[in-house]
Symmetry: C2
Subunit: 135 residues, 2 copies
């Protein structure tokens, strides 16, 4: 039988957080998003920002990466598996394809492993940040 599946309610905070994240092209932290919301006059608790960002990530509506012990989020509507090319200065990110799945499975199998998942992110400097770094 189907799981009880508790029903979710639509709240103002949920909508605010979602739309704030969607207008952001960079990976942002919960704290950053929280500050931005209160700068815009909205009053949303930090705990709620964490909750909603995690919910979005769980539901596949946001990607997350961790940089310097801090989890960053970015809205994502893409359904296929992908990774990111991230500017380590400003957080701007571009979606990229994963390395060959066949190659990974091959490497794993030859060592007796069965793959469960993988992490892969390329970090660098975007054109803008490189230009800005010209002393």
């Amino acid at each position: 039988m189907a799981a009880p599946q508790k029903k979710t309610r639509s709240t103002a905070q949920k909508a605010l957080i979602r739309s704030a994240l969607e207008t952001e092209t960079r990976f942002v932290s919960a704290k950053q998003l929280h500050r931005r919301l209160e700068d815009e006059g909205a009053s949303v608790g930090l705990a709620t920002v964490y909750r909603q960002l995690n919910a979005l990530a769980r539901g596949g509506d946001a990607d997350t990466i961790t940089i310097a012990e801090t989890q960053l989020f970015r809205a994502c509507s893409q359904t296929e598996h992908h990774h990111h090319l991230v500017c380590e200065r400003c957080g701007t990110a571009v979606e990229i394809d994963p390395p060959s799945e066949d190659w990974m499975r091959q490497v794993a199998a030859s060592n007796g492993f069965e793959i469960t998942h993988h992490v892969f992110e390329i970090f660098g400097l975007c054109a803008d940040c490189r230009a800005a770094a010209t002393d």
Copy 2:
């Protein structure tokens, strides 16, 4: 002129930590290594374990990965750049080659990025852990 390069002293704790890490084939956390040391009768402070593991990593004598907000360490004598295939159950790891550097640079360049570094780890279950998971 050459950097002042402060001189390092050899201590019992440093040797203990280094050799304990070297006998370990799995990725281990500072806490795990600390517990193991005190189980063996050695009395070493946790802060010292952190310090020495970080020093080993900085010096290239240890690899580190982060899993579930915890930093794990493993001795490594390899000098070339590499990655790991890690059993997410027992921590056993195998060193693997990186994906094509040319391909990564190509992807980055076509988006105006200049690569600084990348993270890549494959997680899975090793043969032993798969066998043990047979209900």
